[in-house]
C-alpha cells in the first residue's frame, strides 16, 4: 500500500495511518479509498486483530475529496453521448462502493477508533464518522465539518446520515447546509466526537480504549432501540428543523442551489428509515446533485478553478518567487487602509503614506479597530495584534520607501495626482521595486507613463471592503512584463487572496461587467417597470444585492460622475441612454445621492428598514404591461454574461476560468451559475445567442451577441469541455 501504513502492535491492535506520499494533506482519492477499504476489511478478517486505530501521518487528518477524483466524477456525471440514466447509475454505483465498505467496517464486530490528529473535512470527517469511536487532539485550531455545500456539493459517504443520527437534525443540518466547522470542544459538546485528549497521547489513548474494552464495536444506530436525538421529523422535537428549516433554506437559496436542498431531503427521508436505506437515499441525492449543471458549475469555478487560481496556475513559470518584505501604500483612505491591514496581516512590513501623518494614522486606525475586535472576540492574543500593528509605519516621507519591494498606490482617481505620487516614488524606490496602482477606472497603460519603466508597472484592483473581498484583479498594462506580473501575483497569494490577471481596458473586467447589472436595473426603472419587481428579480437571480439598492450603495453621484467622465473620454461616439437622464434627474434635480445622504432610489428612515422611495412612481410612470420576473432575471444575467463574453473576445480576459472565478469572487455574480461564461455554456451557446437576439430586438442593441458567440454557436463550441477543464 502506498497511501495507508498498516502496523500491528503486540496487543493485536492495528493502526491504519493515512500518509499519502508527495502531498501535504491526505485526501480521498480513488487509490486511498480503495486501500483504506482493503486494509480495514483485512484487519476485520484477521482473527488476531482486536481493534483498529485510524489516524494520519500528516498534520491534518484527511482534508476531503481529491480534486482529480472530483473532476473525474463530474466528468462521469456529464459524459457526452452517454444516456442520462446510465451516467446516473455510474455515479451512484461509485458512491455506493465506498458506502458499502464503510458499513462493513461499522458492522465488522471490531472496534474502530478514529484518532483525529488534525483537521477533518468533508470525506475526511466521513471516514471518522464511520468509526465507532472518535477521539480528537485538543488543538482548538482543528476544524471538523462537512463543508461540501460550500462548493455546491453534499456529503456522499454517509455524512448526512451519520451526523444527523449523532447530533439530531436540528444540530446537524445548520452545520451541513452552511458547511460550518466545529473545533474539538464544540464537536464534543455537540456529540460528534467522544473525547478530546492531548495531542501527544492521541494514538496511545485510542489503543487504550480498545485494550480496555471501552471502545464499542457497534454504532449507536445499529443498536436496538436507537432513537434519533431530538426525534424524527414527525415528532414535536424533530419537526421544526424541517418545517422551519425548509423555509429558511428556501429563503436563503431562493431556490437556486440544488445541493443544500438535497442535504435537507437526504436527512429528512433518511431519518425515517434504517441507516442502510438512508445511505442509499443520500447516494441518490448526491447523484442528482452531481448531475445538476449548477453543482457542476459551482464545483468547477468555486473549487477546482479557484484552487488553481490560488495556486497561481497562470503565474509566469520561469520567474523565481518574489522576495517581499516591505510594501509601500500611498493613500490611507478606505482602500489604502484596507490594503495596509491585509498586508500587515501577511507579516509584511507596511509603509503607509498620506499627505499628513494624521491622515496616515487615521488609515492605520482601521487596522487598529479590526484587530481590537479580534482580540475582543478572543480570536487573537493582544501581543499578536500589537505585533501586526507595529508593522504599519505611518509617514508623509517618501524616503521611507527606499527599501520597499512593492508600492501600491491608492490615492484619488485623478490622473494628475496619481502621476505626481508615481514620480515621487520613482525617485526613491530601489531598482528592483515594482509599482502597482489600485485604480478602479483609469486605464493602466496610461498611468504607467508616469513610472520610470512601464514594464514594472501593474494594476492591482482590490474590492471593498478589502479585508472581506477575496478577489484581486491584476491588470496587465500594454508594457507590463512577466516578472512584474509574477511579483503582483506572489503578493496577492501572500495576503491570501485570489488573483485573476486581466488585460487593460476601460473598467478592466470586474467593474465593467458589474456596471451592466446596476445599469440594467436603472434601465428597467426608466422603462416604467415596477421597482419592487426589479429589485426582487435582482435578488432572485442570486446576486448579493438588488440593482437599485446597490446603486444607492455605490452612490448615484459617483455613477453620474463616472458616466460624465466616460462621455468626455469617448466624445461624440458616446451614446446617451435613458439611464443618463434618470441619474441626472436624481442627482441634479432631486439631490438624491444614494445611501450616503439617506435619499436615493430608497428612503432610509432613521431606526427603520429602508424601503423604495414612493416618489419613483412619479419619476418613471409605471408601464401598464409589467414583465414577468423571469424576463427580468434573464435580462440581469444575460447582460452580464454577454459583457463577459465581450471581454473574452477583446482579450481583456484571456481564459473563461478567470472570468468565472473573478465574477463570483469580485461582485458576487450568482454563484449557482458557476460564473457568467459557465452560464452561457449551461444555457447552450446557440440558445444564448437566440435569446440575446430576442432581447436586442426588445430592449436595444446592448443585447446584441458579439461575433465570438455567434461563431461558437455556429460551430457548436463551448467555453468549457463537458467535464471541468477548459476548451483549448
Amino acid at each position: 500500500m502506498t497511501n495507508i501504513r498498516v502496523e500491528k502492535d503486540v496487543d493485536g491492535i492495528v493502526t491504519l495511518t493515512w500518509d499519502m506520499p508527495g502531498r501535504s494533506m491526505n485526501v480521498l482519492s480513488e487509490d486511498s479509498i480503495a486501500e483504506y477499504s482493503k486494509a480495514a476489511l483485512e484487519a476485520i478478517a484477521d482473527p488476531s486483530v482486536k481493534g483498529v486505530v485510524v489516524t494520519s501521518g500528516k498534520p491534518a487528518f484527511i482534508a476531503g475529496a481529491d480534486l482529480a477524483m472530483l473532476e473525474k466524477q463530474t466528468s462521469t456525471a456529464s459524459a457526452p453521448g452517454v444516456p442520462e440514466l446510465e451516467r446516473a447509475k455510474a455515479v451512484y454505483d461509485n458512491l455506493m462502493e465506498f458506502n458499502v465498505a464503510l458499513r462493513k467496517i461499522e458492522k465488522g464486530g471490531k472496534p474502530f477508533v478514529a484518532a483525529v490528529n488534525g483537521l477533518a473535512l468533508g470525506g475526511g470527517l466521513e471516514v471518522a464518522l464511520a468509526c465507532h469511536t472518535r477521539i480528537v487532539a485538543d488543538d482548538p485550531k482543528i476544524q471538523l465539518g462537512l463543508v461540501e455545500a460550500k462548493v455546491g456539493l453534499m456529503p456522499g459517504a454517509g455524512g448526512t446520515q451519520r451526523m444527523s443520527r449523532l447530533m439530531g437534525a436540528a444540530g446537524a443540518l445548520p452545520l451541513m447546509l452552511e458547511g460550518r466547522t466545529l473545533d474539538p470542544a464544540a464537536a464534543l459538546k455537540g456529540g460528534l466526537v467522544h473525547k478530546v485528549v492531548p495531542a501527544l497521547d492521541l494514538v496511545a489513548e485510542a489503543k487504550a480504549l480498545i485494550k480496555s474494552g471501552q471502545a464499542k464495536a457497534v454504532q449507536p444506530w445499529d443498536e436496538k432501540g436507537f432513537r434519533v436525538p431530538g426525534g424524527d421529523p414527525y415528532t414535536p422535537g424533530g419537526n421544526p428543523a424541517f418545517s422551519m428549516g425548509n423555509a429558511m433554506l428556501h429563503a436563503k437559496t431562493l431556490g437556486n442551489y440544488p445541493a443544500p436542498k438535497a442535504i435537507m431531503s437526504a436527512v429528512y427521508e433518511g431519518l425515517l428509515v434504517p441507516i442502510d436505506a438512508g445511505l442509499r437515499i443520500e447516494a441518490r441525492y448526491m447523484t442528482k446533485v452531481m448531475m445538476h449543471p449548477a453543482s457542476r458549475n459551482m464545483i468547477r469555478s468555486l473549487f477546482i478553478n479557484m484552487q488553481k487560481a490560488n495556486k497561481l496556475e497562470r503565474r509566469p513559470k520561469d520567474v523565481p518567487p518574489a522576495k517581499l518584505a516591505k510594501v509601500g501604500i500611498l493613500g490611507a483612505g478606505m482602500m489604502g487602509a484596507g490594503i495596509a491591514y491585509v498586508t500587515a496581516m501577511a507579516s509584511l512590513d507596511v509603509v503607509l503614506i498620506d499627505r499628513s501623518v494624521e491622515d496616515a494614522e487615521k488609515g492605520k486606525g482601521y487596522s487598529k479597530g479590526l484587530l481590537a475586535k479580534q482580540v475582543e472576540r478572543k480570536r487573537m492574543k493582544p501581543e499578536a495584534a500589537d505585533a501586526i500593528l507595529a508593522r504599519i509605519k505611518t509617514t508623509t516621507d517618501y524616503a521611507e520607501l527606499k527599501t520597499a519591494d512593492l508600492v501600491i498606490e491608492a490615492v484619488f482617481e485623478d490622473r494628475g495626482i496619481k502621476a505626481e505620487v508615481t514620480k515621487r516614488c520613482a525617485e526613491v524606490l530601489p531598482p528592483h521595486a515594482i509599482f502597482a496602482s489600485n485604480t478602479s477606472t483609469l486605464p493602466i497603460t496610461g498611468l504607467a507613463e508616469a513610472w520610470r519603466d512601464p514594464a514594472t508597472f501593474v494594476g492591482v484592483h482590490f474590492f471593498s471592503p478589502v479585508d472581506k473581498m477575496q478577489l484581486v484583479e491584476i491588470i496587465r498594462g500594454q508594457k507590463t512584463n512577466a516578472a512584474t506580473l509574477a511579483v503582483a501575483m506572489d503578493y496577492v497569494k501572500r495576503i491570501r487572496k485570489t488573483p485573476v490577471v486581466v488585460n487593460d481596458g476601460r473598467g478592466f473586467y470586474a467593474s465593467r461587467v458589474f456596471a451592466t447589472y446596476t445599469r440594467e436595473g436603472m434601465r428597467m426603472l426608466a422603462q416604467g417597470i415596477n421597482p419592487a419587481l426589479i429589485e426582487n428579480a435582482g435578488k432572485m437571480t442570486g446576486m448579493p444585492m438588488p440593482p437599485l439598492a446597490l446603486s444607492d450603495e455605490v452612490a448615484l453621484d459617483l455613477i453620474y460622475k463616472i458616466a460624465a467622465q466616460t462621455a468626455k473620454d469617448v466624445g461624440p461616439a458616446y451614446q446617451r441612454t435613458p439611464v443618463d437622464g434618470l441619474i441626472e434627474k436624481m442627482v441634479k434635480d432631486l439631490g438624491r445621492l444614494g445611501k450616503k445622504n439617506g435619499k436615493g432610489f430608497y428612503e432610509y428612515p432613521a431606526g427603520g428598514k429602508k424601503h423604495l422611495w414612493p416618489g419613483l412612481a412619479e419619476l418613471t410612470p409605471r408601464a401598464k404591461e409589467q414583465p414577468t420576473v423571469e424576463e427580468l432575471k434573464t435580462r440581469f444575467l444575460f447582460i452580464q454574461a454577454l459583457e463577459t463574453a465581450r471581454c473574452l473576445e477583446e482579450n481583456v480576459l484571456t481564459a473563461p476560468e478567470d472570468g468565472d472565478v473573478a465574477a463570483i469572487l469580485g461582485w458576487g455574480f450568482a454563484p449557482w451559475t458557476g460564473g457568467p461564461l459557465s452560464l452561457i455554456d449551461t444555457v447552450g451557446v446557440a440558445e444564448f445567442v437566440r435569446e440575446c437576439d430576442r432581447l436586442a430586438q426588445a430592449y436595444g442593441p446592448r443585447f446584441a451577441p458579439n461575433a465570438l458567440l455567434r461563431k461558437m454557436a455556429q460551430s457548436g463550441e463551448t467555453f468549457y469541455r463537458s467535464g471541468t477543464s477548459k476548451a483549448a
Binding site: 424541517f242 418545517s243 428556501h250 429563503a251 436542498k261 429528512y268 426582487n536 432572485m540
Partner: protein, 402 residues
C-alpha cells in the same frame, strides 16, 4: 339525475378552543354524536333510511382518528347499516362532506346521506396529523409553503388592505354576530351540548367579543411578523409575488378566525326519500365544486371556485342573494368582495369566524346551515357558501330554497 334536497341542518355552539373552553371536557366523538342524534330526533328519522354519514375532520388522529364518522354513527345509536366516512379537505371539509353526501344522492346511489364535520381543536390541536406539506423539503419547496397567516398578509399587501381596513372588518364581524345572537337568528339550528348527566355545557358561541373596537384591536401585535421574517416565510411567499416589495403584516388574533370546538350535520336526501320519511325539503343543492389555486398565498381559492361554480350553474355573482365566506382572515373576505364586486350587506350578514370561530372540519357545514336559516328568515331564494382551503383550494356550494 336526481335532485339533492336539504331536509335539516344543525350545529353545536362553538366553544373556545382552549383548555378553559366549555367544550374542552367533552370528546370530539361526543360532539359528532350530539349533532347526529339531533338530526335523528328533530326529524323523527328512521336512521335505517340513511345510507351514509360523511364527516369532515382536519386532524383525524388520536380521538378524532379511526374514521370518526362511523364511530359517531355507532355511538349515536344509528342503525347498524349506516356507513360512515371521514374526509379531509382542510378548512372546507364540512362543506366538502356535504357536497359528497349530496353527490351520492344526486348520483342515485343513496337515498339519504348526512354531511357534516367535527373538530375539537382544544383537544386535538391543529397540525396534530403531521403531513409532508411543510416538513418534506420536496413538498415545502414545491408549494412555496408558508403558514396561512403569511398568505393572508400578502393578500392584504398586494391588494392594498391596510391594518385599519382589516381591523374595521373584524369589528363589523363582531357587531353582526352579536346582533344575530341577540335576535336569536341562529336558534333554529343550534343544538346545545350536554354533559354526561344531561346538564347543558354550552348553548351559545362563546368565542365572540362584542365589545371589540378599533382601539382594542390596535393594541394587538401582528401575529406573523416575527415568524415571517426570522423563518424566511416572507421571502418564500415574496418569490411568488415579486411585484410586492415587502409583506405588510396586518393580521392578528382579533381579525383572524378563532380556534374553537364544534360539530355540524346536514341531512340530504332525494325528494322521494323525504316524502317517505314525512319530511319537507328546505332547499335544493343547485351546484357545487372545488378548485385548486396558487398554494403559497393559499387563500385566493374562494373567488376562483365561485366563478367556477357560478359558471356551472349558469349564474352571475348578482344572481346570488346571500353569500357566506368563511372568515379565515379578514383580507380573504375583503379580497373576495373586491374581486367579485359583492357588497358587504350580502355577505356574512350574521358575522363569521372572526367573531364566532372556525372549528376546521365542521365550519363548512355550519355556514351552509347559517346561510339557509338566513335565506328563510329574509325569505330570499339563492345562497352561496364557500371557504378558502389549505394548500391553495376553494370549495363552494350553491343552494336554492324551494
Amino acid at each position: 339525475m336526481a335532485e339533492a334536497y336539504i331536509y335539516d341542518a344543525v350545529r353545536t355552539p362553538r366553544g373556545r378552543g382552549k383548555s378553559d373552553g366549555s367544550l374542552h371536557e367533552v370528546t370530539a366523538l361526543h360532539l359528532a354524536t350530539t349533532v347526529l342524534q339531533a338530526v335523528r330526533d328533530r326529524n323523527n328519522l328512521d336512521t335505517a333510511l340513511v345510507d351514509d354519514v360523511v364527516l369532515g375532520c382536519v386532524a383525524p388522529v388520536k380521538e378524532q382518528g379511526s374514521d370518526i364518522a362511523r364511530l359517531a354513527v355507532l355511538n349515536a345509536d344509528y342503525a347498524e347499516s349506516v356507513a360512515g366516512v371521514q374526509i379531509n379537505r382542510f378548512c372546507a371539509s364540512g362543506l366538502e362532506a356535504t357536497n359528497m353526501a349530496a353527490a351520492q344522492v344526486m348520483a342515485g346511489q343513496s337515498d339519504f346521506a348526512i354531511g357534516g364535520g367535527v373538530e375539537s381543536m382544544s383537544r386535538v390541536p391543529m397540525g396534530s396529523d403531521g403531513g409532508s406539506w411543510s416538513t418534506d423539503p420536496a413538498m415545502a419547496f414545491k408549494s412555496y409553503f408558508a403558514p396561512q397567516g403569511i398568505g393572508a398578509d400578502m393578500i392584504a399587501t398586494k391588494w392594498g388592505f391596510s391594518r385599519s381596513d382589516v381591523d374595521g372588518f373584524a369589528v363589523e364581524s363582531q357587531k353582526r354576530a352579536a346582533q344575530a345572537w341577540k335576535e336569536g337568528r341562529f336558534k333554529k339550528s343550534i343544538v346545545p351540548v350536554k354533559d354526561q348527566i344531561g346538564l347543558t355545557l354550552l348553548d351559545h358561541d362563546e368565542h365572540m367579543r362584542p365589545e371589540t373596537t378599533m382601539q382594542s384591536l390596535a393594541s394587538l401585535n401582528a401575529s406573523f411578523a416575527k415568524l415571517g421574517d426570522e423563518a424566511g416565510f416572507d421571502t418564500v411567499v415574496n418569490m411568488r409575488y415579486p411585484e410586492v416589495e415587502r409583506i405588510d403584516h396586518v393580521h392578528h388574533a382579533g381579525n383572524s378566525s378563532g380556534i374553537v370546538d364544534g360539530a355540524a350535520a346536514i341531512l340530504i336526501g332525494t325528494k322521494e326519500a323525504g316524502e317517505k320519511a314525512g319530511l319537507k325539503p328546505r332547499a335544493r343543492i343547485r351546484a357545487f365544486t372545488s378548485i385548486g389555486s396558487e398554494p403559497s398565498i393559499m387563500l385566493t381559492g374562494p373567488e376562483k371556485v365561485t366563478r367556477k361554480v357560478l359558471a356551472r350553474a349558469g349564474m352571475k355573482p348578482g344572481d346570488i342573494d346571500l353569500y357566506e365566506l368563511n372568515e379565515a382572515f379578514a383580507s380573504v373576505v375583503m379580497l373576495y368582495m373586491k374581486l367579485l364586486e359583492i357588497p358587504h350587506d350580502k355577505l356574512n350578514v350574521n358575522g363569521g369566524a372572526i367573531a364566532m370561530g372556525h372549528p376546521l372540519g365542521a365550519t363548512g357545514a355550519m355556514i351552509l346551515g347559517t346561510l339557509l336559516d338566513e335565506l328563510e328568515r329574509r325569505d330570499l331564494s339563492t345562497g352561496l357558501a364557500t371557504l378558502c382551503v389549505g394548500a391553495g383550494m376553494g370549495t363552494a356550494t350553491i343552494i336554492e330554497r324551494i
